[in-house]
Amino acid sequence: MPTDYWNEPIKVGAIFSRSGINPVWFEWNHTRYQIRSITYRWDERKGAHKIFCFSVTDGVDLFEIAFDPVQIEWRILSSSCST
């Protein structure tokens, strides 16, 4: 499963709660992906603030998406697709 790298804005539906951020679905290239599970989460530094990163799967393919709380935007960083 090769990995392709991106840095594109996406639309994401997420639940923000005391326990953290849980993305539930995202739309990219006119396709809606339902997130079946978040396989990993970590954060990275961007200047003075954190970017929240998630590795998610729709059950078939794997994606990395990230949330910038200052810009209030979500981006897709990579995709590893079976086809």
Binding site: Y5, N7, W42, D43, R45, K46, G47, A48, A66, R75
Partner: protein, 407 residues
């Protein structure tokens, strides 16, 4: 009685990547650097190691040994973030935690073992390992012993997923017939030199006359004798008491060998900017600039120059480093790796420019730093850094840490 635990994360990068992508669990996995150009294996999973693949091996060679291995480009941020999670979890046991590397920590567990001796230490080793498994779902090996050297040696005895305790009164027996290079800190070259003195085991090293070892190895000889005896009083430095650096440097192995000085200068500028930025962030200034050139045939040349005044200015570091590299020269062997570092570090005080122009430049440097502190590394930089054909920094929200740009 002192007890030190060493936790070594097994095949760490590969284990983290298995968490990220459960579909590759149990497969031979190779975690590498940038996918383009030459790349080496940073970590191989245990199934991959069965094919003879080791860290540092070229990706090409590794894939020759195991063509069906899964290749994953490493993500340093992920591993650092996981290390933070590990430390946070281990703080439930003690705050005396030293981060030895991205995949190893030491813990002073003397208070936890208390009077319980080896039996309590064995229980604790199991508790620590299971805490890591349950908390992070990552495999590790744990070693507990009276000092850091022996604890690290102990954790290395059973990999993966092992627990080993060496009690104070067992050290002599453990070390007696152990080859010297089995100890952390004694590599092949040092072992060969010790063999020249008739020393091949730790027992022999521990009994060797200190005068002989000092004559051969200088002050290091004293430390070697102590290691042979399993005595190592190096303190555990908790991660929140980070010692001051003796030097600050950056180096890069290029995706392809380069043969002309202008391209070398571009890389050196980027390295100098990274070094300068790190120094300014920590309040360091340094007087000795060192440049390293590794040629395409793997020979390396190192040169340094000591400045009259300490500096933290990337352009001054760059000018000095380029002068050194021009002295080394570029030939038909090309350049494979470049490094720039600054040592003879001073801390505190401030740089007082001698002239008004210097004051304006200083103000500009501070303004650039303020923007990059706020918005991320290299949000703004000198034009030269962007004209360089090789971008060496991690672009926020991007996954191409070392990227060939332009042309």
């Amino acid at each position: 009685m002192r007890w030190i635990a060493h936790i070594d994360m097994n095949a760490y990068f590969a284990s983290v990547e298995e968490m990220v992508n459960p579909k590759i669990r149990g497969k031979p996995i190779l975690v590498t650097g940038a996918p383009e150009g030459r790349s080496v294996v940073c970590t191989a999973s245990y199934p991959a190691r069965e094919y003879g693949i080791q860290s540092g091996m070229s990706l090409k060679e590794a894939l020759r040994l195991c063509p069906h291995a899964v290749v994953v480009t490493g993500n340093p941020s992920r591993y650092t973030a996981t290390l933070s999670q590990l430390v946070k979890m281990l703080e439930g046991f003690t705050h005396l935690i030293e981060i030895a590397s991205v995949d190893e920590v030491y813990m002073n567990v003397s208070d936890i073992v208390g009077e319980g001796g080896k039996e309590r230490a064995k229980e604790l080793a199991g508790e620590l390992r299971m805490a890591v498994v349950n908390g992070l779902d990552l495999p590790c090996s744990v070693g507990i012993a009276p000092n850091k050297v022996m604890a690290k040696f102990a954790s290395g005895l059973k990999k993966p997923m092992g627990e080993t305790v060496i009690a104070h009164n067992e050290i002599e027996e453990v070390l007696e017939n152990l080859p010297v290079d089995a100890l952390p800190g004694i590599g092949t070259k040092l072992a060969i030199r010790l063999k020249g003195l008739g020393i091949t085991t730790c027992g022999e090293l521990g009994r060797a006359p200190v005068g002989l070892l000092k004559a051969r190895f200088g002050v290091v000889g004293i430390a070697l004798k102590a290691m042979g005896q399993g005595v190592a009083d190096t303190p555990l430095v908790p991660y929140y008491e980070v010692p001051e650096a003796k030097s600050v440097g950056h180096s890069v192995t290029l995706p392809e060998d380069i043969y002309d000085m202008e391209r070398v200068k571009g890389v050196v500028f980027s390295l100098s900017e990274k070094v300068g930025r790190r120094m300014r962030r920590r309040g360091y200034r340094g007087r000795r600039v060192q440049a390293v050139v590794r040629r395409g045939d793997f020979t390396s040349v190192v040169k340094h120059r000591t400045l009259k005044r300490p500096t933290d200015d990337a352009r001054e570091i760059y000018k000095t480093a380029v002068g050194l590299i021009e002295g080394i020269g570029i030939d038909e062997r090309g350049v494979r790796m470049l490094g720039v570092s600054v040592s003879l570090i001073e801390i505190g005080g401030e740089i007082l420019p001698l002239f008004e122009g210097g004051m304006r430049e200083r103000a500009l440097i501070e303004a650039l730093d303020a923007v990059n502190d706020r918005y991320g590394e290299f949000t703004v930089s000198w034009a030269r850094a962007y004209l360089s054909r090789y971008r060496l920094w991690h672009v926020p929200m991007s996954r191409r840490p070392a990227e060939l740009v332009g042309n």
